[in-house]
Structure formats: C-alpha cells, structure tokens
C-alpha cells in the first residue's frame, strides 16, 4: 500500500496549494479579519505543522539512500518548527515577530537539503532537474519570508509569500519517478515508467 514517490510529491504539492490559498486570502483581507475566527487563524500554521509531521513517514518508508533519509528528516524538522512557531504566534505564546525567522530557516535548510541530496546533474532526468530547481528556488525566495518578518502586514510581501508556495506546488506537481526533462534523459537513469 506504499504510494509511489511521485504521488507523495503530488500530495505535498496539494498541501502547498492549500497553504498558498490561505496565505493569499490572509494577505488580501488583512491579518485582523483573517484571525476573527479561531479555526481560520490556526488553519495555515496547522497545515504547515501537519505537513512537517507527515514528512516523518516519508523519511521512514522512502529509504533508497541515507542522504534521502537525512534530507526528509531535515524537512520534517524545519517544517514542524516553522509550523509550531506560527501556531505559537497566533496563540500569543510567542510575541516577537522575529520568531517568523523560523520560516526563513525552513526555506534555507530545505533548499540546501534539496541541493545536497541530489547527486545527479540538472538534465540527468526530470526529478534531478526539479530537485536543483526547487533547491535554488527555495534559497532565492528565502528573502520573501524575511521581508514578511520585517513587515508582517504588507499586502505585497504577504502575496509574494503565498505565490512562493504556488511555485513550490507547481514544481512538486511536475515530478515523476522517471521521466525526461526537455527531451533529456540519461541512459543511466533507466527507462520511463509511463
């Protein structure tokens, strides 16, 4: 009953679509209106935390290499930390907006883990290309959550933050277990499944 790896990527892509919709709505209506109902205030930090929790089974069951396992473990750690921090900020247990730097840390650690754990070149196969793209995207856009940390009520930064998750979702939805990328597929990668 274990899902193929590509399906796991697609499920996480769906999680990021949920996150981006909530964040975009929050940026449009403003934090005060968004947090008027308690369940809504906890919705996207809770989703972020839940995605971190769900990365643990991914780490446990997808053990094709040690470095994969370590990367998934690192993502689980930083996603749970970022989600828990945002939950605590909503709850009022944490007050300083600088705690939002936890999300910046999540972006930097995740981006680095993507780049470190991908051993092949960009055009080896599609997943290699997407790992490189995701890694550099996450490192590049880490400036967005940092800007949101400085100006948490900015519509511009809030929207940019939400669109960052849209980009992550698109990259995850493009993933296939074994497929070509722009016509390139190394013979060492094997033959495409579908």
């Amino acid at each position: 009953m274990q899902p193929p790896a590509e399906h796991v990527h697609w499920l996480f892509g769906t999680g990021f679509v949920i996150l981006s919709l909530c964040l975009l709505a929050e940026a449009i209506v403003g934090v005060d209106v968004w947090r008027k109902r308690a369940w809504r205030a906890y919705l996207w930090p809770g989703t972020l935390f839940f995605m971190g929790v769900m990365l643990w089974p991914v780490m446990t069951f997808f053990t094709n290499s040690t470095i994969h396992m370590l990367a998934h473990g690192a993502w689980a750690d930083v996603l749970m930390f970022a989600g828990a921090t945002e939950l605590a900020l909503v709850r009022g247990k944490l007050v300083s907006p600088w705690w939002r730097l936890a999300t910046v840390l999540a972006f930097v650690v995740s981006g680095s883990a993507f780049l470190v754990h991908e051993q092949n070149t960009w055009f080896f196969q599609r997943s290699s290309f997407l790992h490189h793209l995701m890694g550099w995207t996450l490192l590049g856009v880490a400036i967005v959550p940092f800007a949101r940390c400085l100006r948490p009520r900015s519509v511009l930064f809030g929207s940019a933050y939400a669109l960052t998750f849209v980009a992550i979702a698109v990259i995850l939805f493009c993933d296939r277990d074994l497929a070509s990328v722009f016509g390139h597929l190394s013979p060492l990668a094997g033959s495409p499944h579908r």
């Binding site: 009953m1 899902p3 193929p4 399906h7 697609w10 499920l11 892509g13 769906t14 679509v17 949920i18 919709l21 909530c22 975009l24 709505a25 449009i28 209506v29 403003g30 005060d32 209106v33 968004w34 008027k36 109902r37 809504r40 919705l43 939805f173």
Partner: protein, 93 residues
C-alpha cells in the same frame, strides 16, 4: 461635498475590491485544475481506470487542485466575506 462623504464613498470601494479578490480565489484555483485536466488528460487516471492501483486512482493532481479550490470556496470564503463586511461596517461607523 464634505470630507466625511468622500471617505464614506471610498471605504466600500476598497471593501468591494477585497471581497471580490477573495471570492475569486477558489473558482480561479478550480479553473486552473480544470484547464490542467484538459491540457494533460492522461493525468486523470479515472478516464482509464482499468488495471490501475489505489494510489493512481486516489491521487490525481488536477482533480486535487479542483477539490482544494472548491473546498476553499465552500468552507473558508463565506465566513471570511462575512467578517470582511463586519470589519468594514465597524470602520465606517
């Protein structure tokens, strides 16, 4: 025209823009999923379900995107629009 009247005219317009933008998010997401399904119909395994395993039938990205858009529209947006209207009324009082 007094300054008070001008501010009264400006506030609802701002509110309307936000309400429209929020109300568009869910349908726009669902539309993206539908367009994606048309562009890449082979990603909809339900169209050729024979011999497919559980995961290929349960996880179909374009359908998931449509589902998320619809759920957001049905679960989150109605309350959000109510609260936005209430906040606008409170500000204009």
């Amino acid at each position: 025209m007094s300054a008070e009247l001008v501010s009264e005219l400006k506030l609802p317009r701002h509110r309307i823009w936000r309400a429209r933008a929020v109300a568009t998010l869910g349908p726009a997401t669902a539309l993206c999923g539908a367009v994606w399904a048309l562009v890449q119909p082979y990603r909809i395994t339900l169209l050729h379900p024979h011999g497919q395993s559980f995961w290929w039938l349960a996880v179909e990205p374009p359908l998931l995107v449509i589902l998320v858009g619809l759920l957001f529209q049905l679960v989150v947006v109605p309350g959000l629009l109510e609260d936005l209207e209430e906040a606008g009324d409170a500000a204009s009082r």
